[in-house]
């Protein structure tokens, strides 16, 4: 059976780096979920799609962009009106979802190979990410489970808050190494650990 190869290759350097004298500010890891899927509803079918997502992924989603949920390694959040990014530790989420999303409800695209999932976690996660994204990462503005679709110059990025001090970032795979290196450099001042 074929196994997905990480796009990070030689730039993945496990261990502690940067200014760790005062402790590790963030841990950075590639989460490698089994499935990353984008699902989108037509105008007026959003609720049906949300219901299908609830059935398949087991997550109740609020209506609208930005809202989301994360539980037991499965995540879902709105990235645009009627559009959701879904993550699951199991492979085959797209196929499972397609069984419940007929063409008159919406579309499903498998992006499991097309995106890298990076987790930035720790007390300085907000600080490090604020260097790259013009987003308010405070918990009031960016509550647990919610997500944003944003951009850092050339890096189109979708971000979900998966824990109070953790964010999962989804980036186009071909940009993975460049972004990873930039992220690590940005975390040097607070000290970081690569898992």
């Amino acid at each position: 059976m074929a196994e997905q190869l990480s796009p990070l290759g030689p730039v993945w350097k496990p261990g502690s780096h940067g200014n760790v004298a005062g402790g590790v500010g963030v841990t950075i890891s590639e989460t490698r979920p089994g499935s990353i899927v984008e699902a989108a509803a037509w105008h007026g079918t959003e609720k049906k799609l949300i219901a299908a997502i609830a059935k398949v992924v087991g997550l109740e989603l609020p209506d609208g962009a930005g809202g989301g949920a994360f539980r037991n390694g499965a995540g879902a959040f709105g990235i645009a009106p009627g559009r959701f990014l879904l993550v699951d530790q199991e492979e085959g989420l797209a196929e499972r979802l397609l069984e419940r999303v007929p063409v008159d409800v919406g579309s499903v695209v498998d992006l499991s190979h097309g995106r890298i999932a990076i987790r930035v976690a720790g007390p300085e996660a907000e600080w490090v990410l604020a260097k790259f994204f013009a987003i308010d990462f405070s918990e009031t503005a960016f509550p647990l489970g919610s997500g944003k679709a944003t951009i850092h110059h050339d890096f189109f990025t979708q971000i979900q808050r998966t824990m109070p001090q953790a964010f999962d970032l989804y980036i186009f795979r071909s940009f993975a190494r460049s972004f990873w290196q930039l992220l690590c450099r940005g975390a040097e001042d607070v000290g970081y650990e690569i898992l």
Partner: protein, 998 residues
């Protein structure tokens, strides 16, 4: 201890010596000193030379408004010029040099300019442009003669050429309230807002918060003001909802309450910590902003007012109060307002002898009198300084009676021996940010100052920024502003700290200049004198904007912080108008100098990210020479040892034609087009039909822009009834995606279609050549790949080495070829399996050069031909223009200009002199290296064709087809290439396509 340093007082740490170098000489200061305070403590009087006249200049201010004491900092090979010494925190090893002098600060040959007199007065270089009207150097020749000397003499510091190795970064911040300025008003605003639970950011350009409270003799709630300010700062630092940003200059106020700030994170350290940037650029989005930016003291204009030792009274007070330094031993003060009296008292308290206080006003407030008495100063009311004397240090001043109402001096001058003259010409609120936010400043007659405009964005002013002159006002206003910013009513205030301070008169006398013969400077940084302003007036440059440009008043690094109002006042006097009638220039960002590194942030060196295919590491391991194709890195050739680029690509292309080759095509744009209306959408987007495409088949398609010009091409695969995979050129992937999204969102929102970029989902490999089917047959499982199962443009699904793949039989090379797609995570594994399977067939990997060669031989177009100017017909793609349906561009594509016979058209060209052709070379009908002919087109791509054994190319040529068989010349003067060519059909090889269909 230096004789100028008092034994106590101020916030410097006398126990910590700091050693630094200025102009090669070692000095010792204390922790907490600025370069200016440390040098002053050591008795240094001259810090730099002036811009034009090279006059010796000392320190004039104690802050960011410093016009004179600009120095260059050296760190390794990197030099940073024009930094105010008043803003440089010293550290062990700091190395600064003075600037704009040669050979030394003490002896500067440029000082001869002082005697050039009116030759280099205002506008002299504009006049130099015109030159004298007679003689050999008339007109521009005179300018060309002078230019070298003027350029050498002018300018401030010199930038270095070494690359800046410092680290910079950018930061985004969001807050409920941004407080700009951490003086008493700012501190109280922050405290009030933060206490209500608001998220607050406090930024101040100084390393220590407190503003004027740091050196004030006032008492706040019975505490010395510096201690009170430190206490409030500590309180704020302990609050979780407050972020303090010392050493941070908020320099720009933009729309949507977005502000830009520069944090000097590590400038005060010999070495930054690990990962610490030198500067951090902040973009702050604030719901509300409190502007508590204080004010700038103005100098008075009189002859000799630039001699080292003449400084602003507030600066002298600050040097004494904050740094424990006496700027002189025998000090006189010269003022038009009460604030200088507080300075006199502080200076006296610090140990100076206050010789006299000279005030242009005939009478002053009782509180000011008391302070003068406290300072032990002789009071000279109704007097003015009419001259200051000394060379590199002030030695004496001359004082005469003065009538503030008429501006006329009278009586005999009295000479006084002093080594410091502290001057105050009143205060100007620092309204720069408010002005940037929009609105016109308002003149206040009582304060003789421009006050902030009415807010056009959500900001609230407080303290000296609004014209307040007392600390009590600052504290009260700051508190109210903080509450308002947090959305609370002002009555929420229960009690504000009580301030014990003298009841000084806030209004200065409207006196800006003591008009006496002699060089009296208005703009110290640009050597603009009062006479220069009057000259501008006489020569007709009377608008403030013209005044600025003609005289350079208010330009350069200080942007006129000390000079704008005196300059305006003198122009107003010359025009017989009131100051507000003359107007004022509005402020624009930045408030003060901003390092370019901070704006670039992390984007230095290789400023754009690399996009890498899943097979990238394999290409590198195989020694492929890579080059950038947009953001992508793609193999150019897989060169064997000793091979030239041409030899390599010819070998690779030959192998494809004769056997089989494999190329990485993962970079192609790929877009999932899904939905019940997907086929209809594609019919509208492409010029040809896609609704008729059967499932499991692909079709080549062409898109036009709305104006009828060709936009992009590629194949689209029908994977299901409502599921298409569109491929685009690598370069246009993003553009096509935007194009599709635009039409779906804006033009046809009724269509049920979703488009999603899946470019990175799929890794791709094209296997091309007569033996390509054999290679696939050797490694693909789960499907046959014979002609029946997989015909031209057919699609099958199978597996290679256990990884699911999708294979489409299509060809860019003109050979039988297949594109193999798999999940990008399996990309390397599938590629290596294909390579292994290809070994028995002699398969080689080939790069973009060979790919380009193969397509040129076939006359296939790419972005070089679909260049935003060509139509489908220009490229012989008219057969793709469906007549059965409308499509984007169909209305406009038949415009007269787009179907004209004279348009450029795709042709082939063959070199007739056996030499290589090059893309970009022009094609001319006649001409030579000496005489260039008229261009009839240009070469878009060229190569050596192994199939033809010739140098060939594709070209866009006027008349196109009609020139087939005709001779022409290529003309490439930039590369020195001229030679004969023949124009031929654009399809050089296998014109009937039998090889790819075979």
């Amino acid at each position: 201890m230096s004789p100028r340093r008092s034994s106590s007082g101020g916030r410097v740490d006398r126990a910590r010596a700091v050693r630094f170098t200025f102009d090669g000489r070692s000095y010792t200061g204390h922790a907490g000193d600025t370069l200016a305070s440390a040098l002053l403590a050591d008795g240094v009087t001259v810090f730099g030379r002036s811009f034009k006249y090279h006059r010796p200049r000392g320190v004039m201010t104690a802050g960011i408004d410093e016009p004179n004491a600009l120095v260059t900092l050296l760190k390794g090979d990197v030099r940073e010029p024009n930094i105010p010494a008043t803003e440089i925190e010293i550290y062990d090893g700091l190395n600064a040099v003075s600037q704009n002098r040669s050979p030394s600060l003490a002896f500067d040959v440029g000082a001869i300019n002082q005697y050039a007199g009116k030759l280099i007065s205002a506008g002299f270089y504009y006049k130099t442009f015109m030159g004298p009207v007679i003689g050999p150097l008339k007109g521009t020749r005179f300018w060309m003669f002078c230019e070298h000397f003027i350029r050498r003499a002018a300018g401030l510091g010199h930038a270095g050429t070494a690359a800046d190795t410092a680290r910079y970064e950018r930061m985004n911040a969001f807050c409920d309230t941004l407080v700009v300025g951490a003086g008493p008003a700012g501190l109280m605003a922050a405290k009030a807002a933060a206490s209500s639970g608001a998220r607050v950011i406090v930024a101040d350009l100084e390393p220590v918060f407190g503003g004027a409270a740091k050196w004030s003799a006032n008492l706040v709630d019975g505490q010395p003001a510096p201690e009170w300010a430190a206490g409030v700062s500590d309180e704020l630092a302990r609050m979780e909802n407050v972020r303090l940003l010392p050493r941070t200059t908020v320099w720009g106020y933009y729309d949507g309450n977005t502000l830009a700030a520069l944090e000097r994170v590590a400038d005060h350290k010999a070495q930054p910590d690990i990962g610490e940037p030198r500067h951090r650029h902040w973009t702050i989005r604030a719901r509300a902003v409190v502007l508590a930016t204080g004010g700038f003291e103005r100098p008075l204009v009189f002859p000799g007012n630039d001699i080292p030792g003449v400084m602003l009274a507030g600066a002298a007070e600050r040097f004494a109060g904050e740094y424990g330094i006496l700027p002189g031993e025998r000090i006189a003060l010269f003022t038009n307002n009460d604030s200088a009296y507080a300075a006199a008292a502080t200076l006296k308290y610090s140990g100076a002898t206050i010789v006299t206080v000279i005030d242009v006003r005939p009478d002053i407030s009782a509180a000011a009198r008391d302070l003068a008495s406290e300072a032990g100063a002789e009071l000279r009311l109704g007097h003015a300084v009419v001259a200051a004397g000394g060379g590199k240090a002030l030695t004496e001043i001359k004082v005469r009676r003065f009538d503030a109402a008429t501006g006329m001096p009278s009586g005999e001058p009295v000479s006084l021996a002093v080594d410091c003259l502290a001057v105050s010409g009143g205060w100007s609120p620092a309204i720069h940010l408010a002005s940037q936010a929009g609105g016109k400043p308002k003149w206040d007659e009582a304060l003789q100052a421009f006050l902030p405009p009415d807010p056009m964005q959500n900001w609230i002013g407080a303290g000296a920024f609004t014209g307040g002159t007392t600390m009590a006002e600052a504290i009260a206003e700051g508190t109210r502003a903080g509450l308002r910013a947090a959305g609370l009513p002002a009555r929420t205030v229960r009690k504000t700290p009580e301030v014990s301070e003298p009841a000084l008169d806030p209004s200065p006398a409207p006196v800006f200049e003591i008009r006496i013969s002699g060089k009296a400077f208005v703009d110290f940084q640009h050597d603009v004198t009062a006479d220069d302003v009057r000259l501008a007036h006489r020569e007709g440059f009377i608008s403030v904007e013209h005044l600025k440009r003609y005289t350079t008043l208010g330009m350069a690094t200080d942007q006129g912080k000390t000079s704008n109002i005196p300059g305006l006042a003198i122009m107003a006097d010359a025009r017989g108008l009131a100051i507000p009638e003359v107007g004022t220039t509005r402020f624009r960002p930045p408030f003060s100098a901003v390092s370019l590194g901070s704006v670039a942030g992390e984007r230095v060196g290789h400023i754009r990210p690399d996009r890498l295919t899943p097979q990238h590491d394999w290409h590198v391991e195989q020694g492929a020479r890579l080059y950038a194709a947009g953001l992508w890195y793609r193999p150019m050739i897989y060169g064997a040892p000793g091979e030239t680029v041409e030899q390599a690509y010819v070998r690779e292309a030959k192998t494809v034609r004769g056997g089989v080759g494999i190329v990485d095509v993962s970079t192609l744009g790929k877009i999932a087009v899904q939905g019940p209306d997907a086929a209809e959408f594609l019919d509208r987007v492409y010029t040809n039909l896609f609704s008729t495409l059967p499932i499991g088949k692909a079709r080549y398609g062409l898109m036009l822009r709305e104006d009828g010009i060709a936009m992009d091409d590629g194949t689209t695969w029908r994977l299901g009834e409502y599921d298409f995979l569109m491929t685009t050129t690598t370069a246009n992937a993003g553009k096509v995606m935007q194009h599709l999204e635009y039409f779906l969102d804006v033009v046809w929102p009724d269509l049920k279609v979703h488009v999603t970029s899946v470019s990175d989902q799929w890794a791709g490999a094209a296997v091309a050549g007569p033996k390509s089917r054999d290679v696939l047959a050797a490694c693909v499982t789960g499907t046959k790949v014979d002609d029946e199962t997989l015909p031209f443009m057919g699609i099958v699904r199978g597996a290679i080495d256990g990884a699911p793949v999708m294979i489409c039989r299509l060809s860019f090379s003109g050979e039988m070829a297949y594109e193999v797609y798999c999940g990008a995570g399996y990309g390397l594994q599938v590629w290596e399996a294909l390579i292994e399977a290809g070994k028995p067939f002699g398969m080689v990997p080939y790069g973009l050069e060979a790919l380009g060669t193969l397509r040129i031989e076939k006359g296939h177009v790419t972005g070089a031909e679909i260049d935003g100017r060509t139509t489908a017909r220009d490229l012989h793609l008219g057969w793709l223009l469906s007549k059965k349906k409308p499509f984007i561009g169909s209305v406009m594509m038949d415009r007269e200009g787009l179907v004209a016979e004279t348009r450029i058209q795709l042709v082939g060209v063959v070199s007739l002199d056996g030499r290589a052709l090059a893309g970009g070379a022009h094609i001319v009908e006649s001409g030579s290296a000496e005489k260039l002919g008229e261009s009839i087109g240009h070469i878009t791509a060229a190569c050596y064709s192994p199939a033809l054994g010739k140098y060939i190319g594709l070209a866009l040529v006027r008349g196109g087809k009609n020139r087939h068989g005709k001779r022409a010349m290529i003309s490439d003067p930039l590369r020195g290439r001229f030679g004969p060519i023949e124009i031929v059909n654009h399809i050089f090889f296998d014109p009937d396509g039998s090889r790819m269909h075979g």
